[in-house]
């Protein structure tokens, strides 16, 4: 039941990504191209998503625990360090080069485009590379 529920949340998120235009690199790159063929649509994606999460999370956290047990696992760190800033800066550079981000590319797999497969293999390579580079340290998982 838990897995069916997880699948359903994936469908809801994926439909949102597909309808919003987030999974279209042409649209994403135009969002960042303020000096050129600017398309401000993606600001509306963020606006819509934030309204629902800001209200929804607060309602959900009135419960003692999630529906399928365990506890709410929310990162509590407030450490601003070079890893956070440098990693985020790098992420933006890669996003600006490829036009895909992971949350958009996973649903985009469903369009059957080979470029999406190529991108996600490269992302997996980057995730593994990071793990190899920071091998001696045990660090917190990504959000």
């Amino acid at each position: 039941m838990k897995l069916v529920y997880a699948l359903f949340t994936g469908v809801v998120f994926g439909v949102g990504i597909a309808l919003s235009g987030m999974m279209d690199p042409a649209k994403v790159l135009n969002f960042f191209d303020i000096a050129g063929s600017w398309d401000p649509s993606l600001a509306f994606v963020m606006g819509g998503a934030l309204i629902v999460t800001a209200l929804g999370y607060r309602l959900v956290w009135r419960r003692k625990a999630p529906l399928f047990g365990g506890r709410f696992q929310v990162p509590t760190s407030t450490t601003i360090d070079a890893k956070l800033i440098g990693g985020s800066a790098l992420f933006g550079v890669g996003w600006g080069i490829a036009g895909f981000c992971p949350g958009a590319a996973i649903p985009a797999l469903g369009t059957g485009r080979w470029e999406v497969v190529l991108f996600l293999i490269a992302v997996a390579g980057g995730i593994i590379l990071r793990r190899v580079l920071t091998m001696p340290f045990r660090s917190e998982p990504a959000q």
Binding site: I17, A49, P75, G86, A108, G126
Partner: protein, 143 residues
């Protein structure tokens, strides 16, 4: 390449993205971060942790097909990026998002909505570097 301004579809898609994130918190108590979900599939930490992520990713991949079934059209995407740059961008995205502990979904949607200090730093950082990267590629290098 121009893309159409789609505020309503983008806002509606954003609402569904937010709903997916809220449903995941309600059911499983987790932040919806695509990079974290990918990391958990590539470098699994136990069978249960792997299973819900796999189910969720499957749901995300099914989304464009379900839209096709419902509306008769598959969401179209355009990839104005060469295969080499997709790979370069992908590796940087994977490395950066795991170093910075999050991407557009984890920091952008889930983090900002709960006013996480780390996300409030991360999001403007990656938005800025993405915009600078697109500016350099399109208007300095003229690609």
């Amino acid at each position: 390449m121009e893309t159409a301004f789609t505020p309503i579809a983008s806002f509606g898609g954003g609402l569904a993205i937010g709903l997916g994130a809220v449903l995941l918190m309600l059911g499983l108590g987790r932040i919806l971060g695509a990079t974290g979900i990918m990391s958990g599939l590539i470098l699994p930490e136990g069978r249960d942790e792997f299973a819900w992520r796999a189910a969720m990713v499957l749901g995300m991949i099914l989304a464009p097909g379900l839209i096709f079934v419902a509306t008769g059209t598959l969401p179209e995407i355009a990839v104005p990026v060469s295969p080499v740059m997709i790979v370069v961008g992908g590796v940087i995205v994977g490395l950066g998002a795991s170093l910075g502990s999050g991407c557009t979904s984890g920091h952008g949607v889930c983090g900002l909505s709960r006013l996480s200090l780390r996300s409030i730093v991360a999001v403007p950082t990656f938005m800025a570097t993405a915009a600078i990267t697109v500016f350099i590629i399109r208007h300095v290098l003229g690609a």
